[in-house]
């Protein structure tokens, strides 16, 4: 007989209503049900990895096999993940801290890119300086936006969503009027223009994309240090956990929000500059990157840096690998796999993989 003191109380309500004595087999089935989600995840990952490994190693490890292609594709996914991370980390901070769904986030991404494009192509400014100027000016714009439109209606989610949607439409239209509808590409900085020799299989890869990976790692690390190791970071974490309590304890919540919004907007603009150099800038990219940032935040959890990193990596890898390694007749459904990922996360752990539990 199970000792009622040692047995865990099962989550099923009917069991609690019946009696504290619980059959161990019922307990085991409940534990299995709670572990079912992660078990399915693990099974899918193992299956997916195995499938890809078979495809890649099918023709051996030599240069005529699929391994060189796999390396290029993987580097592509990692650089794409880096871009998604930089685009989404601002959103997750703002989302986690202020509970504001900033639907203008994608427009800030595109605006940052276009500003840098105008500076480099029309005014001959050096890429690095242009990136810095674009980042800071769009950061200031984001700050102004927050102070003017979002400060007085905290907590009113629908209102804030509508306001930021309106701002995104206005910005998108003005960018269309000023920069035209044809796609634009930022010139790669000369220091990174030459391909980087990988030393394996005679492969070379774009130095700029490798730089983007490095940039994401560096910024991720700096943000982690800021949030985990500084006093201000502690205030941010407290605000994410429980805003009302933090305010009650004397934290100037408005200043924290302003700084977070500025930082988030700067990062969005920076990712726009990087995306504009690595991919391209065009009307419609704002919506595309807003969508991917929201997906990353959903997967990783609001307010979590590690979650944003993991979410970005998952999204980029699933998107890229499914496009390439799905069997031929399923290839058109590669987009579906990306959203299956989101559905799976929402079904198993709706608050996101790394989110702290809501209190």
């Amino acid at each position: 007989m199970a000792d009622s003191d040692r047995v865990e109380v099962p989550p099923a309500p009917e069991a609690a209503a019946i009696s504290p004595h619980v059959d161990s087999s019922v307990v085991a089935s409940h534990r299995t049900r709670r572990n079912l989600g992660p078990m399915i995840w693990a099974a899918l990952i193992v299956f997916g990895a195995g499938w890809i490994a078979i495809q890649v190693l099918r023709n051996g490890l030599g240069t005529s096999g699929n391994v060189p292609q796999f390396i290029i594709i993987t580097l592509g996914s990692v650089s794409l993940a880096a871009l998604f991370f930089l685009a989404a980390v601002g959103l997750t901070l703002i989302f986690g801290l202020m509970r504001v769904v900033n639907m203008a986030h994608g427009s800030l991404y595109l605006l940052g890119g276009y500003c840098a494009w105008a500076l480099t192509t029309k005014m001959g400014v050096d890429w690095w300086l242009a990136a810095l100027i674009a980042m800071l000016s769009v950061g200031v714009l984001g700050l102004v936006m927050e102070q003017a439109f979002l400060r007085w209606n905290l907590g009113q989610d629908l209102r804030q969503a509508l306001i930021t949607i309106a701002i995104s439409v206005i910005l998108a239209d003005q960018m269309l009027a000023n920069f035209g509808a044809m796609p634009s590409v930022l010139p790669t900085p000369t220091a990174l223009a030459q391909p980087f020799q990988l030393g394996l299989y005679n492969l070379s890869y774009s130095s700029f994309r490798l730089f983007v990976i490095g940039m994401a790692l560096a910024i991720g690390l700096l943000l982690w240090l800021w949030i985990q190791r500084t006093r201000f970071g502690m205030v941010i974490r407290a605000g994410i956990d429980d805003r009302a309590m933090a305010s009650a304890l004397g934290v100037n919540v408005q200043v924290v929000f302003a700084i977070a919004f500025f930082a988030g907007s700067c990062l969005a603009a920076l990712s726009g500059v990087l995306g504009g150099t690595m991919l391209s800038l065009a009307p419609g990219q704002d919506v595309a990157f807003l969508t991917s940032s929201i997906v990353v935040v959903i997967i990783g959890g609001m307010g979590s840096l590690g979650g944003a990193a993991l979410g970005a990596a998952l999204l980029a890898f699933v998107e890229t690998y499914s496009g390439v390694y799905l069997p031929q007749n399923l290839a058109p459904y590669s987009m579906v796999v990306t959203f299956l990922l989101v559905a799976a996360v929402l079904a198993v752990r709706p608050q996101g993989l790394f989110a702290r539990a809501e209190r």
Partner: protein, 480 residues
Amino acid sequence: MGSRSKVFVLSTITALVVVLSGCSGNAPSTAPVTAPPVTAAPVGTAPGTAAPTVTVAPVGTAPGTTAPSTEPLKIGVLAICGGPFATYQLEAFLGAKFALLNLAGGTSAGQGPEDGVLNATIAGRPVQLYWGCSDATPDAAVAQARLLVEQQHVDILLGPESGDEGVAIANYAKTQPGVTFINGTSGAQITTLQVQAPNFFRFGGDGAQWMAGVGTYAYKVLGWKKMSILAEDYSYPYTLAAGVIAEFCSEGGQVTQRTYVPLSTADWSSYVAQIPSDVDGTLLLTGGTNTTNVLAAYKQLGGDPSKKMLGGSSVMDPTSFVTGDSLVGMAGGSPVPQGSTDATWTAWVNAIQNVYPSVPAQSLFTVIYYNGMQAIIEAMTKVNGDLSNNHAAFNQALSSLTPTFPNGKITLDANRNANIPAYVTQFVKDASGNLSFNVLKTVSEVDETFGGLFSATSPAPGRDQPVCQAGTPPPWAANF
């Protein structure tokens, strides 16, 4: 200041900013722009006159039995608009409007795409234009067509612009016998080859016809024996590919890989990495941002687009110039003779650039919408404005039309699809160092069946169709 009054002030300021930004730039210019007379006008009507003279007796009607109507002629123009499609909207609407300026005595009411045309008349009937905007999806296109046809009561609908939309509109046309539908640029093959709506006319040809000659160019001139395809995943690239595959394979070439990528993919580098190393070249069938992304990724991986790539009709377009000098030397297929020095073509290009400086004149979207409107004008003139009996005389006039468009002379086949000239064009640098085009080869009289390779019972172009098989090359292949 209390928070409520702060809110009020902020809202007012915001509203003002929105209103001001929205209002600027849309006001029609007060001085109407008149179209300069074009000396090499390709139509049998004198440009600039209000009432074009009738040069050919209308087929099937005794002249003079029906008094010419002076009721307004309502023409709806349907294109894809907004956001990423803004350039396509500009090209379609301005191309259509320019025909009214050039051939129907109209004057421009402004430079914007939806600014109207004043004083245009066709066969004595004043023209009223209605604009329809869709988003490259069949549902939106049919909804807009319904709006124009059933609520605005347009007599003629010019459009749609995108491949998938055309099939839906052609099917819708069958339910509206009292309206005439002239295709815009939608290029899916089955729109005319299979749907065969009696009141749907395509004066621009389908996407496969646009690529005529490319397959033979690859096989005979470039010496390719194996090709791969990298394309967007919808009906227009399927049709573009069908034209190249049918021609290339009929001569003995092989297509070893076909990669169709979802339209919304941002990062094409992994698909570019998948291009096999043992093919002689790749056929690229993308448009807009996707072309830029592919070519950037291709260059980054060390590929040379000028030697190892051929472009589809949306690649061979001014919108690709942003990719830069690596394009120079790359060839592809196009329905318009970009870069041609032909007198008619250059006169037309200069004329439209004069009136609408912002429109890319050498783009197929501009030209083919112009052609559609020109066909409407010519046929209406022939029947003296008579749209009675469900447009019987008008539709008959359209079917028998043999117009000379800026990009060449065409005739219509039994399915009311045009037999067109196609061009193999190439990116070059002009004298001032800017990117431009050059015509490598003109392919005359391309019909929709490709000399028998396609028929109404062939499987519709798709991800696996047509199958690559040897056969009789189309008639123009012998000219290479």
